[in-house]
Symmetry: C2
Subunit: 208 residues, 2 copies
Amino acid sequence: MRTVTPPGDPGAETTGGYLKGRIRRKDIIAAARAVYAEAGYHGSSLREIAKRAGITHAGLLYYFPTKEALLAAVLQRRDAEDAARQHLDSSPGLDVLKSLIALAAHNVRHPGIVDLYVRLAAEAVGPDHPAHTYFERHYREARELTARSFRVLAARGDLRPGVDPELAALGFIALMDGLQVQWLTMPDEVDLVGALEAHLQSLLTVPL
Amino acid sequence: MRTVTPPGDPGAETTGGYLKGRIRRKDIIAAARAVYAEAGYHGSSLREIAKRAGITHAGLLYYFPTKEALLAAVLQRRDAEDAARQHLDSSPGLDVLKSLIALAAHNVRHPGIVDLYVRLAAEAVGPDHPAHTYFERHYREARELTARSFRVLAARGDLRPGVDPELAALGFIALMDGLQVQWLTMPDEVDLVGALEAHLQSLLTVPL
């Protein structure tokens, strides 16, 4: 079992200690993801996550003093990874919508992450859950990015007449979430990416 | 606290005993719904549900010998209530799709039921969950009913050209589910029924 090196350890060089800390954080976040996916956030314990990460309980508490702090780090890490991989920060428009579908295609190859997201989103609907604020912001940002993209398409005449960009954005994000639950439940019967593409195409006057 | 009357109790008339049993089952199912909604299915216990129903633990076990049996009864009760209220057994077509939207409108007035459904659906994605088979069947039946309805519309020329009835059905059910999660998380920002109507309208050549 590995043990954590406290900061200022006389044997650790500053840069090396910093790097080691980043690696430890990464290991702990990976272990937390695995444990959440198996037991749900509420069913998990920092003790179990520490064990999985090969670190002492006290060592984990040095990096993440509370269960909530670790959850926040797991969620932020996922969003940062998604944004970097799918270039979700590009200008609003068709490319952003295609990137969201590419994100869904990526997720289909990583069911563990989807499983974690779906379970946490359901646990966090109540305002007292520590991830509630995260999901509020997450949905809001996703809807706004998508609505801006639909408005850009509308201005170009590429959105079918009568389609409201705000409702279409709400629907697009909800469709992604709802498809994930059905796909996790019966992966062989649910064409997640196909359904998203068909839906987006039905809103456009131009081919996808 | 009420106590359960065992069957064959010398003081209980047969018909009265039967009626009492139905009322007890109903009370227990209502208590189970409340406890699941608060603690999730996995976080609940038959002991806690018995307490909430005002019945002894042994009394509850007489009606529902296992946690799984009670969960199955809760889910079947909900489906039976939905089907009876929304006439989901009518001939496939636009009326069925409108009934599904009416069901969503009903759900918006009963957030506790939606909360329970969303949490259980997320818990039950794995094949080892006792409600997994229920959700598989539930999704499959909902998709098939919806696909048949879209096919009827297509045959009449009421479905927009290029819309695939199977993918549209998968999307319609997924949209309902995904909207529920977002709506539970931020009820003031999500127009659940409006988004469903807008979506359905975008698939049709006729006004809804």
